[in-house]
């Protein structure tokens, strides 16, 4: 089976006023269909930049990257992915339903199809009944769920998430992590997930990509042996703690030689 996302010798340098910044150096990675891949590392390690390269929001300086066998730009036009940002970024002048309809309107779905999809994805993120509410009437966690629903609405196979729960408190975060795993199991999407949190990365992922800064590069790729079914208390199991250790070691190693 050919990988859904594949990057070969990817390099990206930003030209800034303080001189060039080497954001990504020699990144090689393959992501298979149905993988849940977490990117973890300190600030400036290029994890968000790499996600943006997959989305075609940044253009690599050199190297190859393909998404569904296409260039990222072509993949974007073919609606290959939905993107979830750190902030929910719902339009305050649209209802929750209206926000989820936004991509559907832009992509030209029919009115009746739009309505079906909105109610289906609201169900999926457990927000049925909130269609007519405005964003300010929802909590931060609910807003982020609505933004996930918006990314799911047009049935992209890939879901790219850039620290989606970073601004939420721990309890809400645990709950959303659990829900995200259920959603992943139900929809069989390929997920790329950027995070700062080691427990979050280990709990969610089938593959953990540890990155280190200056220049941004991959320092370790860990295939998780954890089963697909993951209750929250799996975080106390020895396997979980062992992977978390390996991730922490990878982060530390990246720091000392960086």
């Amino acid at each position: 089976m050919s990988p859904v996302i594949s990057a070969t010798n990817l390099d990206l340098t930003f030209e800034t006023n303080d001189g060039p910044v080497h954001a990504l150096k020699d990144v090689n990675l393959e992501i298979n269909k149905g993988d849940f891949v977490s990117f973890i590392g300190p600030s400036g390690c290029g994890k968000t930049t790499f996600l943006r390269c997959i989305a075609g929001l940044e253009t690599p300086t050199s190297g190859e990257i393909s998404v569904n066998g296409m260039t990222p730009d072509e993949a974007r036009r073919a609606r290959a992915y939905g993107y979830v940002f750190q902030a929910a970024g719902l339009y305050p002048w649209r209802t929750i339903g209206g926000n989820i309809r936004l991509p559907l309107e832009i992509m030209g779905f029919s009115k009746s199809d739009q309505a079906d999809r909105v109610s289906r994805v609201l169900e999926l993120v457990d927000l049925a009944g909130f269609e007519k509410k405005f964003p300010w009437q929802l909590s931060g966690g609910m807003q982020q769920r609505a933004s996930i629903a918006r990314a799911l609405a047009f049935d992209a196979d890939i879901l790219l998430m850039d620290e989606p729960f970073g601004a939420l408190d721990e309890i809400v975060r645990d709950h959303l992590n659990e829900q995200l795993l259920q959603l992943w199991a139900r929809t069989e999407k390929t997920i790329g997930f950027v995070t700062h949190s080691i427990p979050e990365a280990v709990y969610l992922s089938t593959k953990i990509v540890v990155m280190s800064p200056r220049p941004g590069r991959i320092s370790d790729v860990i295939d998780s042996p954890l089963p697909k079914e993951r209750p929250l208390d799996i975080r106390d199991s020895p396997e979980f703690i062992e992977i978390a250790h390996r991730v922490r070691d990878g982060l530390r190693a990246g720091h000392s030689d960086g």
Partner: protein, 309 residues
Amino acid sequence: MSFKGIFPALTVVGFILAVWTLAVIPMNAHLTADQAQRDDMVITPEAPRERQEISGLGLVFKNPAIIPLTYVQQRPRLPSPHQVAYEMYDTIFTKAPTSRRSLVYHAWVTLSATLLGFVIGTTLGVLLAVGIVYNRTMDKSVMPWAITSQTIPILALAPMVIVMLGAIGIQGLLPKSIISAYLSFFPVVVGMVKGLRSPDGMQLDLLRTYSANANQGFWKLRLPASMPYLFTSLKIGISAALVGAIVGELPTGARAGFGARMLVGDQYGQPVVTWAALFAAAITAALLVAILSLIERRTLSRMGMGAAA
């Protein structure tokens, strides 16, 4: 405005009225004394020449009997509040609105120029703002000129506009509206540029992930995001438009409008007329802004942004 907001506002109004009422006495002291002397009252000092040497306040202290008379002068230097109020009542409610002696008639003359100018200015302002946001060349070229345009004193410019347009046969409403538009387009440009640029990088990236085109970005994101900014600008713009229309009435001796009324009062020594026109203009401006605030609140709350506004 909430009900609580009325009390501080009323306090300020009350304070201004009190200062005004007190100021009437010394301001009108000399002419009241002169008048009283002609009416056989004994005034100290007796010689008008000597009275010029002392202040109004000093004169009042020497002749407390003239205090009530300062409030009822035919041609006061400073009309008292009740004189202005009566003049306004008389010219607003007891004259037919079509009569030249009616303030309602003059209000309508100024208001029609204001509204036309406001519509022209707002349209121009929005179009320029869209151009500035979407076109780098316009961004670099238009904005400095828009700012420069507002540094030219409108009092110097208005007569030229009126005279030049008059020379090519354009008279009446339009020249005044152009001056209104000239003053009101600027806040709209500044506010709309800011509003159209208010969506952050993340919101623009979100649209890119949908491969949205520039048109969709404008109608679905930039325009709705700019609405709170637009209303703020409109409120500034409409009061500027009213000032523009009044200024447009001053230089050529217009026969009607608030500006004409103020000029007439000034030239014929009837300050009460000037003051009544001044207050009527202020009330008109307040009403226009209040109407816009109401539309703003309705629109934003219907858009779900009421909580933010």
